[in-house]
């Protein structure tokens, strides 16, 4: 009797779990909106961190646009993998830049971004007097996949 009751409860529960999984599984965690937002914000922070480490006046670059696309899944333009992000900005000295970043996004919503042309650039950290990788040309980032932003429009 107890076994029957267990089965009667377990089967609908399993079906409900399966349906929830199937339906909500359609919205990817790694969307273009989330990648673009986080990469542009983290780039600005990285740029300022780079200036601070070099003991320069800390000023944010003026972003004109950030456009990211998934290089592996071009149809859906979503999901983990290699993304390319084009960041257009004006540096505090007035110079315009159009930088291409390779962004390796993992399935747990973190990424490593590299400026393809200046990947190995180093700066002198004035605090430690050591050469360190320039945060402005390579940085790590993570974004929240529970933030409710489920828009996957391109």
């Amino acid at each position: 009797m107890a076994h029957r009751l267990c089965w009667r409860a377990a089967v609908p529960a399993a079906l409900a779990l399966g349906m929830v999984t199937a339906v909500s599984g359609c919205t990817p965690d790694v969307t273009r909106e989330r990648v673009q937002d986080d990469v542009s914000t983290t780039f600005v922070h990285s740029y300022k961190t780079s200036q601070k480490m070099q003991d320069r006046p800390v000023e944010a670059p003026k972003l004109s646009s950030t456009v990211c696309h998934n290089e592996l899944n071009k149809v859906a333009d979503a999901g983990p993998g290699s993304w390319s992000c084009e960041i257009k900005y004006t540096a505090p000295d007035g110079e315009h830049h159009d930088d291409e970043f390779v962004v390796l996004v993992d399935s747990l919503a973190c990424y490593q971004a590299f400026n393809g042309a200046k990947r190995d650039k180093e700066i002198l950290d004035t605090t430690t007097h050591r050469k360190v990788p320039d945060p402005a040309v390579g940085f790590d980032g993570c974004f929240n996949v529970y933030d409710g932003r489920t828009n996957t429009a391109k």
Partner: protein
């Protein structure tokens, strides 16, 4: 309660006397030191690993990179090696009958053994955390940390951030330990008790490499083990942590309940 405590004390003494457990703890002490010493003698940094680019910039990155690696492969192994034969070894050696005819009840034996397994799993995580932190601070120094949000955190604040990150992974690691205990009870096999949770951990890890349903990934233990990344971000976000706590508790409760029920019903006189 005193019966549970008595079993707990005995089981802790048995665990620390095992060569396997001592070897695991020794490896966890040595591994971060070997890692950072080797890394400091090479030209390139592991840029494709979270915090890898900062390994020579700040000592705290050693602990965080160790945590990234450990959440992927090491923690399921640690949990299994410590907890995977805590029940089955009694069956293998035929000592379960003698334990259960003493003055402590079957429930006390279960909770005492489970408590010891969990305590040593937490100890192993703590040993790796402290060792990796010391290795980084001694080898590189306590310079400010650049978070994943690309903001600088002073060294004295970074200690707390790193400590919180390691505390966050404890619950999902206990999920693997609970699984190991359950498998150890159900299969009565020490080999399977160690291997099956490791294989489950590998399968979970491989699933995270696939571009498959994200909702399934949220229900795996790998996701809660990475919840610390959001806590270290600036601004921090706690949703993955809150979700991860529920998922981890789900694994712990289900696995512990399964082990408890099977252990209660086990006919030890037949074995």
């Amino acid at each position: 309660m005193s019966a549970v405590a008595a079993v707990y004390r005995v089981e802790c003494r048995k665990l620390i006397a095992q060569n396997r457990v001592r070897t695991v703890l020794a490896v966890l002490v040595a591994a971060p030191w070997i890692f950072i010493v080797l890394l400091l003698h090479q030209d390139r940094l592991p840029l494709e690993t979270l915090y890898g680019r900062y390994l020579t910039t700040t000592g705290y990155a050693t602990s965080l990179v160790t945590l990234v690696f450990a959440t992927q492969w090491v923690f399921p192994l640690i949990a299994s090696l410590i907890s995977g034969d805590i029940f089955s070894s009694e069956e293998t050696q035929g000592t379960l009958k003698t334990i259960l005819t003493r003055s402590v009840g079957r429930d006390s034996v279960f909770w005492g053994k489970l408590g010891a397994a969990f305590s040593f799993t937490v100890l192993a995580v703590a040993v790796l955390a402290v060792s990796s932190l010391l290795a980084g601070l001694v080898s590189v120094g306590g310079q400010p940390v650049t978070t994943v949000g690309a903001t600088l955190v002073p060294g004295d604040h970074a200690v707390g951030m790193v400590a919180v990150s390691w505390v966050i992974v404890v619950l999902p690691v206990l999920g693997f330990a609970a699984m190991a205990v359950a498998v150890s009870i159900v299969t009565r096999s020490s080999v399977l008790g160690v291997i099956i949770p490791v294989v489950i951990g590998l399968v979970m890890q491989m699933y995270t490499f696939l571009n498959a349903w994200d909702t399934v990934r949220h229900l795996l233990l790998n996701t809660p083990m990475s919840a610390w990344r959001g806590v270290l971000d600036r601004p921090a976000y706690l949703d993955p942590l809150q979700h991860g706590v529920l998922v981890s508790l789900g694994y712990i409760v289900v696995a512990t309940a399964l082990g408890f029920v099977v252990f209660r019903r086990r006919n030890v006189t037949a074995g």
